[in-house]
């Protein structure tokens, strides 16, 4: 029995290893290419390790980009997107753990918003922002992407892992609804919140279209727009593009590495009755 388990483990490990190697290759290539010369990046067949190791791409990146403002704007968007995440989580909880009139149609309404290509609603959304006087404001940039049906749906599904009995018990103890949400539900939802935080961070960190369309002023631009401008000026400079991509992905990796451990932390139901 034990020996069989050992074999299984070796097979799984080997498969993961080979699969992982193939899967990660483009990513690794992207990082390594940021240290290559423009020319080498496009070589066929491609080189994996840089022939002539260079930092020039990163130097160009940092010298030419207006990092200060762009970084601040990007972080502001990240901050508000986390507020949006809270709203999404509340809504997901509302849909998942309550029975109320209009639940089904309202949930369908939420899902509908996932089903149409963004191109179609871009201009109407802009006109609404314009009517509300929100063009060229951070509010106008943040609002269209604040709520995500994907996130609401995800939370709603994971609410089924939390036993209803816990909520009933808390209500009998006289806990208020928001107390229950913040003190009971949120701590219990750590794994799924960790995923939500990762996804929301990535979305906000890469914000591109709305900042560009809503802003009438470069002072509201984000890092992604800065990079796009830099790439525009260096269309054939793939080394620089890879350096930009690498630079953008580092914070994502850090966030991912920090939060991914909560994904498997598990639901520690017994710990709640302290």
């Amino acid at each position: 029995m034990h020996q069989k388990l050992g074999y299984n483990r070796i097979i799984v490990n080997t498969l993961l290893f080979i699969g992982g190697l193939i899967i990660a290759l483009p990513f690794v290539w992207m990082i390594l290419s940021s240290f290559k010369t423009d020319r080498e990046v496009l070589n066929i067949p491609p080189t994996l390790l840089p022939e002539h190791f260079t930092f020039q791409n990163f130097i160009d990146l940092f010298v030419n980009m207006n990092f200060g403002t762009y970084l601040v704007n990007t972080l502001v968007i990240v901050f508000f997107s986390m507020f949006g995440l809270l709203l999404n989580t509340m809504a997901g909880y509302g849909f998942g753990k309550f029975k109320f009139r209009g639940r089904e149609p309202l949930f369908i309404l939420v899902l509908l918003t996932m089903m149409i290509p963004g191109q179609v609603t871009m201009i109407p959304t802009y006109l609404i922002l314009n009517e509300l006087g929100l063009t060229n404001t951070m509010t106008g940039i943040v609002l269209p992407g604040l709520i995500s049906a994907f996130n609401i749906f995800l939370i709603r599904q994971f609410m089924s892992t939390i036993p209803d009995g816990l909520l009933e018990a808390a209500r009998l103890d006289g806990a208020g609804e928001f107390y229950i949400f913040f003190r009971l539900i949120l701590p219990l939802s750590k794994p799924i919140l960790a995923i939500q935080i990762i996804l929301t961070f990535i979305g906000a960190w890469n914000s591109f279209l709305w900042p560009l369309i809503v802003a009438n002023d470069e002072s509201l631009y984000t890092l992604s727009i800065g990079l796009a401008l830099l790439q525009d000026q260096n269309v054939t400079n793939y080394g620089l593009q890879m350096a930009g991509a690498t630079f953008m992905v580092v914070p994502i990796l850090i966030i991912f590495i920090i939060f991914q451990k909560y994904i498997i932390e598990g639901f520690n139901v017994s710990g709640i009755k302290e």
Binding site: L16, G19, G20, P26, F27, M30, S33, I44, P45, P46, N88, M90, A91, G94, F98, F100, R103, L109, L111, L112, T113, M114, M115, I116, P117, Q119, V120, T121, I123, P124, T125, I128, L143, I147, F150, F153, L154, Q157, F158, T161, R171, E177, P191, I195, I202, Y238, Q241, M242, G244, A245, M248, V249, L253, F256, I257, Q260, I263, I264, G266, F267
Partner: protein, 295 residues
């Protein structure tokens, strides 16, 4: 009073999200729906007096447009082959990761997530090389076992499969995380009980793991289907819909025919055809899920 509080509580929880969605998602969709019955183009956008109501003309034209019919066919092809592959791949990876030791699992979680955060330009360059007919890695590997070179992106039949392969690679990460979280939520006691009953690994998978995480599987299938029905980025960067329109998806058609040329009425109409297909598919899944829950 308590009863009242409990009655309004759910509305309080969902209201902020619903209101923002109504304003910035539902209202624009309704406007776009209206536009789909007009001949709106750039002229109409500049001055609404130029917009004419043309009833179902856009829709009638769509179903005579060979490119659109082809795009619908391609989209179904992508979905039918791609969705099972994507769901299965991410599930298997998540399952494998839950078997290995903790630190190894940590490392591979990062590794398998990497495609989701790889820059699209890097993806286009690397996969463009892998698929290159003359110099690509895939054909080189095939030549080692004496298989003739394959036109990965230049042959209409193969190009679709090549894009599916790329998309599965790219999409595995997120679903994998969701499956992982779901796997963790299964109480260990279930497995302990099964061990006592002498269940083998396969039986545990079928009788415990799969049913216990069906809530997550349902989510992944629904969202993956919606995502694949809107398949766009892969053909956009790799083939631009070619060769001969064989990789054009509905979403790409909408972008190219509707919005690149500012034919907003036509594009909106095409979007609503897609919209209706997605709704039907999604509602069907919810119905199936419900009957499953009951049985």
């Amino acid at each position: 009073m308590d009863k009242f509080k409990q009655n309004i509580a759910p509305y309080l929880f969902i209201a902020p999200a619903i209101i923002v969605l109504l304003l910035f998602a539902i209202l624009p969709i309704l406007i776009a729906f209206g536009i789909s019955f007009t001949d709106m183009n750039l002229l109409g956008l500049a001055d609404w007096a130029n917009i004419n109501f043309i009833g179902f003309d856009n829709f009638a034209r769509l179903f005579q447009d060979k490119a659109f019919i082809q795009a619908i066919g391609n989209t179904f092809y992508y979905v039918i082959i791609g969705v099972p592959l994507a769901v299965l791949a991410s599930f298997l990876v998540a399952l494998a990761l839950s078997y290995v030791s903790n630190w190894l699992s940590s490392v591979f979680r990062v590794v398998f997530y990497m495609p989701s955060i790889t820059n699209i330009v890097a993806i286009a360059v690397v996969w463009g090389f892998l698929y290159n007919k003359e110099y690509g890695l895939f054909n080189y590997m095939l030549s080692l076992i004496n298989v003739d070179a394959i036109s990965w992106l230049d042959n209409p039949a193969i190009a679709k499969l090549s894009l599916i392969m790329l998309a599965v690679w790219k999409s595995t990460g997120v679903s994998m995380l969701i499956f992982l979280a779901a796997l963790q939520s299964i109480p260990k006691s279930y497995y302990e009980a099964a061990d006592i009953d002498g269940a083998n690994g396969w039986q545990k998978l079928i009788n415990i793991t799969l049913p216990s995480m069906s809530f997550a599987t349902f989510f992944v299938i629904v969202t993956t289907l919606i995502g694949w029905l809107q398949f766009f980025e892969e053909p956009f960067v790799m083939t631009e819909g070619g060769p001969l329109g064989s990789t054009t998806s509905m979403a790409l058609f909408i972008y190219q025919e509707g919005f690149q040329y500012s034919e907003f009425g036509y594009g909106a109409a095409a979007s609503f055809v897609l919209f209706i297909i997605i709704i039907l598919v999604t509602v069907l899944q919810f119905k199936l899920r419900k009957s499953e829950d009951k049985s």
